[in-house]
Symmetry: C2
Subunit: 221 residues, 2 copies
């Protein structure tokens, strides 16, 4: 194998191992053995476990950011729901590694790993704004989108810890949470109320947003 | 001064400095100078900057957890709003240090600091459950309370970055966000719908929750 090919193979093997268990628990010996090469040869390509971990995380970050891409067609609720399904697929596939990364700690809290996590958050943010058709978000919209992204992260982390709620329910719930956060902000700001009216008018009558509003109306009456 | 008294003084001085700037930027020399003692004397009490940072963070964590305490009297919305005000007071007073801590990174990502942050989250969680009158939270309620706590953290962090939205608005918004997340969960689960009905019946007609539901009804019609 060529140098780059061998590096890519090692990254793939490492990502698989770092996904299935906390990175603290994965040794270079184990990665070498899974790749079918010697420990010194691993060090020939990567100076240490951290650099291999960062390379694996970079690949995972690119893969996750890729899953956010969604055609700008049809109502927004179902678009966001499809993205949520792919997000939970990713979380499901990389569970222990995702938890270890997002819960932080010495093994995973380097400035490189933080920058990679932030790059994925930024990709999610950019995608959502583009689906909302907004080029420059006002402060309140930026707050909602960014804080909702952190809500989605913590929801996924809590789901991973025991999987006590069906993930399909949480996927729909997060779409509705996004709408609910926009609604709350709209009680404070006319610009957000306008944005909300624009969002609601294209939603299907049997979509997650209509169901949410129906319940609220029944509660309020 | 006695040993413990001197330690407590140093912790106070360090907390003040770590709050106003990122901990990376605060040197032991500066802490020594602010405390009016020599650098070697600081090392006599604390083996290094990390241990002093952890001691300062421990004090800040206890102080913040103390601000969550709220008498169990009157409707829930106003109770939670008072706690949100004290939370934003804390965030305001410790802005740069709070940001650096919550954004993670090598200087602040030790297992001790992570455990302290988790202890504050747990204190917030316990307080909220006690106000809801729930001893053992079902999975969906636990998810909402814990993910809302992360929403409050990220809202505060985004507010600190430029302070482009009045904090009083965000304090009310977070109370309404909590109610909105319960509402969304209630669309999926009968137990959550029961809990929501219990919450709504005691809310004042001019409270944040009533305002939210009013807007939703006007949108849906």
């Amino acid at each position: 194998m060529g140098v780059e090919e061998r590096r890519q193979q090692l990254i793939g093997v490492a990502l698989e191992l770092f996904s299935r268990r906390s990175p603290d628990e994965v040794s270079i010996d184990e990665i070498a053995s899974a790749a079918g090469i010697s420990r010194p040869l691993v060090y020939h390509y990567f100076p240490g476990k951290l650099s291999l971990y960062e390379a694996a995380l970079k690949r995972a970050a690119e893969e996750l950011a890729g899953r956010f891409a969604e055609p700008a067609e049809g109502p927004l609720g179902p678009r966001l729901l499809r993205v949520m399904r792919r997000f939970f697929d990713f979380v499901d596939e990389h569970g222990p590694g995702f938890s270890a990364l997002m819960r932080g700690g010495p093994a995973v809290g380097s400035s490189t790993t933080n920058a990679l996590v932030d790059s994925v958050r930024q990709a999610a943010y950019d995608q959502i704004l583009s689906h909302l058709g907004v080029a420059h978000a006002p402060a309140r919209l930026e707050l909602i989108v960014r804080s909702w992204i952190s809500l989605a992260e913590s929801t996924a982390l809590i789901w991973l810890d025991g999987r006590r709620i069906p993930r399909a329910e949480l996927e729909v719930q997060l779409v509705q949470d996004f709408a609910a956060l926009v609604v709350v902000s709209a009680t404070h700001d006319a610009e957000m109320a306008d944005l909300l009216r624009g969002l609601v008018k294209d939603e299907p009558a049997d979509g997650p947003l209509a169901e949410l509003i129906g319940l609220l109306v029944s509660l309020a009456s």
